[in-house]
Amino acid sequence: MHLFLEQFVNGWALGSLYALFGIGFGLVFSTLGILNAAHGTYASWAAIVGYYAVVWLNVPFPVAIAVGVLAGGVLAIVVDQIGFQPLRAKKAGLLGALITSIAFWIILDSLAGFATQQQSLAFPASTYPNRMVAVGPVMVPQMQIITILALIICAVGIYLLIQKTRIGAAMRAVGWNEVAAGLGGVNARVVILLTAFLAGATSGLAGVLGGIATSNVSFTLGEGLLLKGFAAVVVGGFDDVRGTAIAGICLGIIEVFVGQYVSTAMRDGVTYALLLLFLILRPRGLFGSTSFLRA
C-alpha cells in the first residue's frame, strides 16, 4: 500500500507537468487554430534561461521560475509574430501553420543545443527545494508538491480567466471567429498576443519545473513533454482547461502504474493503447465541446 501511494504521488506530479504543458498547447489550438509543434521548445528554452539565471546570476529559486516563465512567454510571442502572424494575415490555414511550427521546432531545438553545448545540465541541488516532506505515510519530494500546486493554481486561474472575465470572453470569441470578434469590438491582435504569451508561459513553467525535478535541462526536455502534453489535450478536450488538467494527471498516473505493475518496457505502449481506447469511446474528450474542430 505504501508503494502504491508513493507511486500515485509520483504519477500525479509527473502528470501535472504534462497537464501544465498541455494547457498552453490547447490554448493555442483552441484560440489561434495552430497545432504548434514548436511548443516543446518553449519549455526547453525556459528551463535553459532559468538555469543560466541561477548559475550566472545566482538568482533565488522563485526568481529563476519567474525568469523561465517570462522567457517561455516572450519566445512564444516572437514565434507567433514572426512565423504565424503572416500566415494568419493570408489565411493560410492549419497545414501552413503546422509546417511553419515544425521549422521553428527544428531551429529553436538546434539553438538550444548550442546554448547548452549539447550537454544535459542540471540545476545545482542547493538552488531549489530538494528535501522530502512527510505527507501522511508517504514521503514526497518538495519539488513534486510545488509541481502539483503549480498545476492547480494555473488550471484554476486560466479556467477562471477564460470563463469568467471579459478577456476570456474575447479569447473565446477570437477562437470561434476572429473577424466576427473584431466586428464585435474585440482587439484580436491583443488577444492573440496575450494567448501566445499565456501558452508560452505555462509551457515555460512546465519546462523549468520539469528541468529541476528531473535533473535534465537540455534541448530534449521539450520533446519529452510534447507528445504527452498533446495526448493530455486530446483526451481532455481541446477547448477546456479542466479536461487537460485531469487528463494530464491521469496520463502520468497510468504511466507510472503501468511501469510499476505491468511492464516498464511496455509502459508507453500500454499507456497509449488505453488512451486510444478512451478516445474510441469518447471522441470529444473529457470536456471538449461537440462542435469543436478536431485534429
Binding site: 508513493e6 535534465n216 516498464t264
Partner: protein, 390 residues
C-alpha cells in the same frame, strides 16, 4: 626505468606525446621505400549534435588531437600528413549512411570512422564493405560489428570490465539481492546488464527486480521508487548517460542510502558537474580515466588534451584518439601510394595498436581487446579516484 619512463620524467609534458611518437617512429625498422608523401584524409562521421552530442564532442576532440600530434611528429613518415574531414550525423542512421557515401565518392578519403550507436554502425557497415573502404568504429559496442578487412573497431566490448567490477563488488559488499536498471532500447547495455547479472547469480546473489527504462526518459522518480520497493542490498545501473545520472540522483533524492554501482557513462567530468554529490562513491568500470590512467602515453595525452581543450579528456576522447592512431599505424606500415583496399588489409593485420593510452591494446579479428580496466568512483572533491568500498 625504461626509456619512455625516463623521457616522461625529463621532458616537458606538453611535448611528450610528440617525443614518444617520434621515438616510436625512429625505433621502427627502416623500410625500403616508405609511404608515398602526401596528405591522407580520414572521413570522420561526427555526432556533435543530437542526443549523444556530449559524448560525440569528446570523440571528435580526441581524434583532432591525434591528427595534430601525428602531423607534428611526422609519425607516419616525412612529408606525410593526415587530415580529418567531418560530416555530421546527429546519431541518425540515414544521415550517417549518407555521410559515409559522400566520403566514398571523395577519392581523397582513404578511410572512414563512425558511430556511437550500434544500430547506426550496423547500417553503415555494409555501405563501407561494399565500397571496400576501411571503416573504424569508434563508439558502438555491439559485438560482431567488425567485418575484416574493411570494418574494425577500437571500442571495448561489454563484458570483461563489467565482470571484473561485479566480482569485486560481490567480494567487498557481499550483497544478497540486487535490483538492476537497464535500457530496454539499447542492446549494448542489455549485454552489460546480462554479463553482470550472470556473475551475480552464479555467486548466489538474487535478482530483486529489473527496471527497464528508455534512453529518452527523463523522469526517474517513479522507477527509483520501484527499485527501492524491492528492498535490494545493491542497485546496479546499466543505462546510457542521461538516464544513469537521473536515476542515481532520483535514488539519492528519495532517500536511498544503500550502495549503487553504475557504468562508465558517469565517468566524464560534466556528469559530476551536473549531478554532483549523489555520484560520490558510486563505482564504475572504466578503461581510461584522466585521473587514474598513468602510462606515459596516457599522461602525455591528458596534458596535451587539457592544454588544447581546457578540459580533462574522458574515455570517449581516448577512443577517438585511438581510432586515428590505428589508421595511422596502418598507413605507416605501407609502402608507396596506398589504396583503400591495401590500407584495409594492413589495418586488418594489426595485432597491437602501438600508440595507445591504455597500457597495451591488442587487436583480435579487427576488434580491440582491453585486458586492463579500472574501477573508479567520484570523490566529494569531484575527482575520479580508485573505488574504496568503505
Amino acid at each position: 626505468m625504461t626509456l619512455l619512463n625516463m623521457l616522461a620524467h625529463c621532458v616537458r609534458p606538453a611535448g611528450l606525446a610528440a617525443v614518444i611518437a617520434g621515438v616510436a617512429f625512429s625505433a621502427a625498422p627502416s623500410r625500403a621505400e616508405g609511404l608515398a608523401p602526401g596528405e591522407y584524409q580520414i572521413g570522420f562521421v561526427t555526432e556533435n549534435t543530437g542526443p549523444l552530442a556530449a559524448a560525440g564532442v569528446s570523440y571528435y576532440h580526441g581524434a583532432q588531437l591525434a591528427i595534430d600530434e601525428i602531423n607534428q611528429s611526422a609519425w607516419i613518415g616525412k612529408g606525410d600528413t593526415l587530415k580529418m574531414v567531418e560530416k555530421e550525423s546527429g546519431s541518425d542512421a540515414a544521415r550517417a549512411v549518407q555521410a559515409v557515401s559522400q566520403f566514398i565518392a571523395d577519392r581523397n578519403v582513404i578511410a572512414t570512422s563512425c558511430c556511437i550507436l550500434s544500430p547506426v554502425a550496423g547500417a553503415v557497415r555494409p555501405v563501407a564493405v561494399n565500397a571496400k573502404i576501411p571503416l573504424v568504429i569508434y563508439g558502438a559496442t555491439r559485438p560482431g560489428l567488425p567485418q575484416l578487412p574493411y570494418v574494425t573497431s577500437v571500442v571495448g566490448l561489454p563484458g570483461p570490465q563489467e565482470v571484473k567490477m561485479t566480482k569485486t563488488i560481490i567480494e567487498k559488499l557481499h550483497p544478497k539481492t540486487v535490483a538492476y536498471f537497464v535500457n530496454a532500447d539499447n542492446e549494448a547495455f542489455q549485454g552489460r546488464f546480462k554479463a553482470a547479472q550472470k556473475v551475480m547469480e552464479d555467486a548466489g546473489v538474487k535478482t530483486a527486480g529489473v527496471i527497464s527504462i528508455l534512453g529518452s526518459d527523463t523522469d526517474f522518480t517513479a522507477p527509483a521508487t520501484q527499485a527501492m520497493g524491492t528492498n535490494p542490498d545493491l542497485i546496479m545501473v546499466w543505462t546510457t548517460q542521461t538516464p544513469a545520472g537521473g536515476i542515481i540522483a532520483a535514488l539519492r533524492n528519495r532517500g536511498y542510502k544503500g550502495p549503487i554501482s553504475a557504468n562508465d557513462v558517469i565517468a566524464p567530468p560534466p556528469m559530476f558537474k551536473k549531478i554532483g554529490e549523489p555520484l560520490v562513491g558510486v563505482p564504475f568500470p572504466v578503461l581510461f580515466s584522466a585521473e587514474l590512467s598513468d602510462t606515459p602515453e596516457a599522461k602525455a595525452f591528458i596534458e596535451a588534451y587539457q592544454k588544447r581543450f581546457s578540459a580533462l579528456p574522458d574515455a570517449y576522447a581516448a577512443q577517438g584518439y585511438t581510432m586515428v592512431y590505428y589508421v595511422a599505424q596502418g598507413l605507416k606500415s605501407l609502402d608507396g601510394k596506398p589504396t583503400r583496399e591495401s590500407l584495409a588489409e594492413a589495418m586488418a593485420k594489426i595485432t597491437e595498436i602501438d600508440h595507445n593510452v591504455y597500457g597495451g591494446l591488442p587487436m583480435k579479428d579487427g576488434q580491440a581487446e582491453f585486458a586492463k580496466s579500472l574501477i573508479g568512483a567520484w570523490s566529494k572533491e569531484g575527482k575520479v579516484v580508485r573505488w574504496d568500498p568503505k
